[in-house]
Symmetry: C2
Subunit: 338 residues, 2 copies
């Protein structure tokens, strides 16, 4: 059985959407057990008791608008998020899933679960919409504003373990986001990272990737610093949103389009679904010493159940331990253990 | 009359598409005169003589794949691009338009036309597709990999002059691309640039803009460093391309969609046109001491005529001289003239 801690109070539609998501996940995945952190009374009202469900009363939550998440986490150890992460730290569960605020989640994971020894940075790693018929990881998208070449290498190694163990891709391709495809392009960061990535035996490096290839590159993994990654990810969101608005207006304004839409309804729905972050579950938090999946703040039950499944797959792929082995090898080679 | 130097040899479909673009522009804009730099024989074969056309024989061109554009420019002063820019430098024309390679164009503009005295950096500034019903400038998208806060300020000033004089927007809104909207977000670059932009009397600063707002922000101008700008712009291209591929495949594969497409054909065409870079003409090269518009490499006649019009509007708006006045004022205040 795989046992996951669930933050019931995080997310725009928490706690109800999260509780429904848990129910759905329990139906979908028979090997799943959950420990729910949140307002016990509310949870009990909406959930039948089951040997696969444990409830821990932790009604507090970290606000989205919280300006000082670190202080908030330190002051209030009884929030649902903090309690869920403590369970990960104490190995009472195999991993945790939350739809709480991104920066709060990253800060709490750092403070409570802590980084894997030897792992230099933590990264937020969403799965890109598979518009081109293929899933891709993009990292970092905002856990760090700036990264050094050796950080990008470690993140590429981590993401490669994920793609291998969770997606079953034997040799996942790694691309370095850059302003041109030729070697030697980019800032010092990209030039040095290119060298490191080229010579690492743990990854399959496919070179520099321009962001116009985001949905057509053969790469499974795209690495960049957190500022750039955030810009790339949100630009894609922006265009997708604008495309949606355009078609909506057009369909409303002409009879011909209304008729056409009736014929193409399924395609438009598929399009919306493909671009929706709901399908992929959530963003991975790579680098902390445990499995953490950050579901979208706007998660509904279906989305949240996908995020739960993502955590479940990472646990069953033993991703964290396999990354630890790579870090251990690297430390041995360098003759140092950080 | 407005007199523009045209690089006939630059561009994927040069020289013929460029010559046709010139013809179209001459028909559309009666105040336009052109000096054409390129292979005289070919030009004469395809163009009727006219008092509004001067031909200067300069058959050489800078290759797209040229690895050392600076060396190439220095070695071969008779390329069409170099000759066109020399005409700008010598004030024989009011500006220049080329569809040649981007880095070659930037290098040649630097070397031959040179920066406006006191202008610290040159920037490449495309006009974003007006998917949201509004034109917006994004800069820098690749003339510089890294920029300092004071560079972003100057670029915001320059773009504001453009938006005022060319688009007639009295108080163009300036946004700073960032990973969050609150002040204090971002790297040191963004934090310091936020301060500078907030207090400058020459611009209307609207704060930090996330890239998901690219096509919905009220801003007319979006500033960022060249690496980030390049990533943002090309991500948008990537999504737009992927959306196009998706619908194309869908329409092919189901009869229902084929019928729907027939009803929505005009809308799909409008969509394609809206996302096409052809409509906006080209990217501005801000900061050199003259008007330079870089048309897309894949320009056809229509696109190129739009790029010519863009240069024409910048000339008639007297943008370069107005920016010089702002730089002069700033230098006086600082008590220095760079």
């Amino acid at each position: 059985m795989i046992k996951l801690a669930i933050d019931i109070m995080g997310g725009d539609f928490a706690p109800l959407a999260i509780i429904e998501g848990v129910k759905l996940a329990l139906r979908r995945y028979e090997d799943l057990e959950v420990v729910l952190y949140g307002d016990e009374e509310i949870i009990k009202q909406h959930l039948q008791p089951s040997p696969r469900i444990t409830i821990e009363n932790a009604p507090g939550k970290i606000d989205m608008g919280e300006k000082d998440p670190i202080g908030e986490i330190r002051r209030n150890r009884n929030t649902s998020l903090v309690r869920a992460f403590q369970a990960v730290k104490e190995r009472k569960v195999d991993g945790a899933v939350t739809a709480g605020p991104t920066q709060g989640t990253i800060a709490a994971a750092h403070l409570i679960i802590r980084r894997i020894p030897g792992m230099k940075r933590v990264a937020l790693c969403p799965i890109l919409p598979n518009l081109g018929g293929k899933n891709r990881l993009l990292l970092d998208v905002g856990a760090n504003l700036e990264l050094r070449p050796e950080h990008l290498l470690q993140l590429a190694q981590y993401a490669s373990v994920f793609a291998r163990e969770v997606w079953g891709i034997q040799k996942p391709g790694v691309g370095l986001m850059n302003i041109g495809t030729e070697p030697g392009k980019g800032r010092e960061l990209e030039k040095e990272a290119y060298e490191l990535l080229s010579h690492d035996p743990n990854i399959t490096f496919l070179g520099n990737i321009e962001s116009k290839e985001l949905f057509s590159t053969p790469c499974d993994i795209l690495v960049t610093d957190g500022f750039t990654g955030n810009m790339i990810m949100k630009s894609s969101e922006g265009v997708a949103k604008a495309v949606g608005v355009f078609f909506k207006q057009e369909i409303k304004s002409h009879l011909c389009n209304k008729i056409g839409y009736l014929f193409m309804k399924k395609t438009f729905r598929r399009f919306k679904k493909k671009l929706s972050p709901d399908e992929v579950g959530g963003a991975n938090l790579f680098g902390v010493d445990g499995v953490v999946v950050k579901a979208h703040g706007s998660s509904d039950a279906y989305t949240f159940s996908n995020a739960i499944n993502q955590a479940r797959m990472i646990v069953s792929g033993n991703v964290v331990e396999k990354m630890k082995a790579i870090i251990g090898e690297a430390a041995k080679e360098e003759g140092t253990v950080e």
